[in-house]
Symmetry: C2
Subunit: 359 residues, 2 copies
């Protein structure tokens, strides 16, 4: 289909992306390699995947689905380097818990245990470390997960940035639940659990000292209970993804690519709070690519969509859930938005992250 080909230009498919006139030294790591977009995908595809091999990593889910001793386990890790350490609505401690338990939740698993590794910079105040640890502990109790093992390293002043945290989590995947991008089929309904772009704008506003009339608080939250409510309707959801780095735009692209289906969303159905829209207009950001930390996007079989939506709306974390689009057989691997003017535009995979170090 030549239409499709045209729509894909300029493509940022990581398999074909090249920069005709490099603006940076392509032999070195740039911020975008950590942004969850095309550069991150390239790093995984060209460096990590060949080096590590293995079937599980190749699934590229938010969490790995493992078989161990006859059990189906979800296993996931994230490092957290957010600046500042405390922000409206949360802290690096909250992110360190919720980021990892949400990755597990996207496989249907409730997190049972977390590991926690701190990399501290010499000179950071012990009181700050304690405040972060308290926030992490409180978030873990709220999410019903136990911090079971930990590690602390210290690097010299000027070789770190206050506090970095890594968490890894494990949990059981319930019987009958099989959430994978590969299960998406044309006709699936795309549901987002609530307003997008809040976390990234909250971080940016406090970092840059910007005010937008109202304080925007991060939506950082543990999504396990919402996922449980959805799975209670049917274990036959197809895929869940939490649109963190790279935002909803990156998440939809990853799922389209991995499933080999197209995705169409209706732009005006995507819930964007006015404060986020205003902030993005001022900052020159596209809310579709701004990170969330307490939202999920679901691809649900059409016959279950209304019941799942209803169950989501009955839960505080999904009160503003919306159907925003569907999976289609056309333009496989591509995400297209119907605009308010009746046209369409391609929602590409971002190259990097508009807002570095938001998690």
């Amino acid at each position: 289909m030549s239409d499709t080909t045209d729509l894909r230009m300029p493509s940022v498919d990581p398999a074909s992306w090249t920069c005709p006139a490099p603006l940076y030294d392509q032999s070195r790591v740039v911020m975008g390699h950590g942004g969850g977009g095309a550069l991150s995908a390239e790093l995984v595809r060209d460096v990590f995947a060949p080096a590590f091999g293995g079937e599980t990593l190749a699934q590229l889910g938010d969490a790995a689905a493992l078989s161990l001793g006859g059990l189906r386990l979800a296993f996931s890790t994230d490092s957290f380097v957010v600046r500042p350490l405390f922000f409206p609505g949360g802290s690096i401690g909250d992110l360190a818990v919720n980021g990892t338990v949400n990755d597990l939740a996207m496989s249907g698993a409730r997190a049972s245990y977390l590991s926690c590794g701190f990399i501290l910079e010499e000179g950071v105040e012990l009181d700050t470390v304690a405040r972060v640890a308290d926030a992490l502990g409180a978030a873990a109790r709220a999410a019903g997960v136990e911090v079971a093992t930990g590690d602390t390293k210290v690097v010299e002043a000027g070789h770190g940035d206050g506090i970095f945290i890594n968490t890894a989590g494990i949990g059981l995947i319930p019987a009958g639940v099989d959430l994978r991008p590969q299960r998406v089929v044309p006709g699936d309904v795309v549901i987002v659990s609530g307003p997008i772009g809040v976390h990234g704008v909250a971080i940016m506003s406090v970092r840059e000292g910007l005010e937008f009339g109202v304080e925007i608080e991060s939506d950082c939250a543990a999504l396990g209970p919402l996922v449980d409510a959805m799975l209670a309707v049917t274990p036959d959801l197809h895929v869940l993804r939490d649109p963190t780095r790279g935002g909803l735009g990156a998440a939809l692209n990853e799922l389209a690519t991995a499933s080999g289906t197209g995705v169409v969303i209706t732009e005006r159905e995507v819930p964007i709070p006015p404060a986020v829209a205003n902030a993005c207009a001022v900052l020159g950001l596209d809310p579709m690519y701004v990170a969330n930390e307490g939202k999920l996007v679901a691809f649900v079989p059409r016959r279950h969509a209304d019941a799942v939506l209803e169950a989501m709306r009955a839960h505080p974390l999904g009160a503003e859930a919306r159907i925003i689009g569907e999976a289609v057989a056309d333009h496989p691997g591509m995400v297209v938005a119907r605009t308010g003017l009746g046209g369409t535009r391609v929602v590409d995979l971002p190259i990097g992250e508009q807002l570095p170090r938001i998690c």
Copy 2:
């Protein structure tokens, strides 16, 4: 016993340690907080343990022993900040695998899956990242563990130090195996699997450009097969520990404290290679506190000691295993060395780490 009291002065028991004339700002993190000694223990006891709570963390094993879905799992994490990234005998990639699989091995578990989180500094060469990833992948294959899930973050130049890696690992604890410090009883025989101090001296010599006549290579290795050989003799080993940060001295102190028994070692039985002894003399280090990355110390019931030692010596990783001492009812919680001159000296818990960033 007043003798014992005298021996303990000056004490660095983390429960009582205070610095009468602080040489540094005690409200801030110092390098020693990451050193695996008294300052690290203080940080865990006063900050992390109260914040996180939980039964499992309080066990303070190298790995947490968990119950999940009816299985007994070992779960452990370590971050790696070693400088330089490549050193004689290994790299940060080898350490990132062996450090975590060895922590699991100390609970008797063979590592099944690893997570891997990279924190990259903007500007580091992609070729360096690839070399580290290749080393990590090769070490994982050698250890028989699969890298199942990963994450990459990037921080701005000057806010990191090239490459930091966190790994977490999970594995099954075999039936009948219960390795815990609390199982140590007076009469247990203390066995070390080979010469100590090699890793720390290898790092220091390359970092400082020192030469000691012979190149000292890190002993970095995955100990799972050696542990399997020991458990094949009897599952009734009491405790295993890999003496990494803080060296053999810190490991013995941790086990003495956690078990509430005393430990006596015979100094001349502790295997210290001449090159390590020479380097330590030049650098003013005590080899008892220098880190190892491919050694273990075992407390074994006396009736099994000879057979376990024989099995260890039959394995390449334990060819130079030695009995170095025993657990005793006297001086509970304290480690004492019999010196070559027929006297005794206390082997205290080090306050910090003599060699920062050796893993």
